[in-house]
């Protein structure tokens, strides 16, 4: 059976079609969900895509976490359902406290749109379960607020539980401990600043993103 991946559209999301396209290409079925929906239909996984949900007013993700669909997303996540936040989606998951820490302005105050080299630090997440620790992936970033910040206690807990999923080889934004992506304790909720959907076709210069997204639809 084809795995259905629900991609949530908030007002101001702009990467949802790219995620649907990438999911379809790797054998899944991408389906758009509206932020005012109150249930997730029968999807097998949820992606919060990149963009500027609700204009990023107040703070990135601050308004989006109160969108009606987020109650259903939170329930789905606590039942073990795979939930992935990409870029703005990561910011939303952090604001919703489905992931610890926060995303703040890049250290150099520049909007960064460039390829990055990522290292797989943990294979305990739904995105990295088909990869090996130490694998390097080429995946682009596209953000102004990707500087991951957390308390020392949170960082220690992330390290102890292998919740640091991806790190940058050359830290572009000042993120604590070079963090590009983290997961929750169970590994089913993942947030990452890089855009795997933009590295999922040979014409895009890399297909490494597809390796991550494949984790959403199968475990082999």
């Amino acid at each position: 059976m084809t795995a259905k991946v629900g991609v949530v559209v908030f007002p101001g999301s702009n990467c949802e079609q790219d995620v649907v396209e990438a999911v379809d290409r790797i054998g899944g079925s991408g389906e758009l969900l509206w932020h005012k929906d109150t249930h997730l239909r029968d999807v097998d996984a949820v992606v919060l895509p990149g963009g500027f949900a609700h204009g990023d007013y107040l703070r990135t993700g601050a308004m989006a976490r109160f969108s009606p669909i987020m109650d259903a997303v939170t329930r789905f996540a606590s039942d073990g359902g795979p939930v992935v936040g990409i870029c703005n989606g990561f910011q939303i998951l952090a604001e919703a406290q489905l992931l610890p820490g926060a995303l703040y302005k890049n250290q150099g105050l520049k909007f960064l749109c460039q390829p990055t080299t990522l290292r797989v630090e943990s294979t305990g997440s739904v995105l990295t379960r088909n990869l090996s620790e130490g694998d390097e992936l080429s995946i682009p970033i596209n953000h102004f607020e990707g500087n991951y910040i957390c308390s020392e206690e949170t960082l220690a807990a992330l390290r102890d539980n292998a919740q640091i999923v991806l790190t940058y080889r050359d830290n572009p934004n000042g993120a604590t401990a070079d963090i590009a992506g983290i997961c929750n304790e169970n590994g089913n909720v993942v947030g990452l600043m890089p855009h795997p959907e933009r590295a999922a076709h040979p014409l895009l210069g890399s297909t490494d993103g597809a390796l991550l997204l494949k984790g959403l639809i199968s475990d082999d």
Binding site: A62, E95, A102, Q107, L109, I149, S151, G174
Partner: protein, 92 residues
């Protein structure tokens, strides 16, 4: 429908949202570096934040403050990176 005998008191609120101590503020640092170039010497500790101004209705100042504190905690600030300062004054 009943008409209240008295108007519900109103309070002017200013919420100052600032980055928590210890969190690098690249915007503040950039401004601090720019000031000497414009001839303003001796400035240090520049931190950039934002302020929100609004009016709340509440029976008294203590309850108004409670309401605003709850707003800050749930929505107006992110406690991971931000602190808030609340100033209240009665609308005259």
């Amino acid at each position: 429908m009943t008409t209240p005998m008295f108007d519900v008191p109103k309070f002017n609120v200013v919420v100052e949202v600032s980055l928590r101590d210890g969190i690098a503020d690249p915007e503040g640092l950039t401004i601090e570096r720019a000031l000497p170039a414009l001839g303003f010497d001796g400035v240090s500790g520049v931190r950039v934040g934002k302020s929100l101004r609004f009016v709340v209705e509440a029976p008294n100042e203590a309850e108004a403050r409670q309401q605003v504190e709850a707003m800050c905690e749930r929505f107006l600030a992110n406690p991971v990176i931000e602190d808030t300062g609340i100033t209240l004054s009665p609308v005259l």
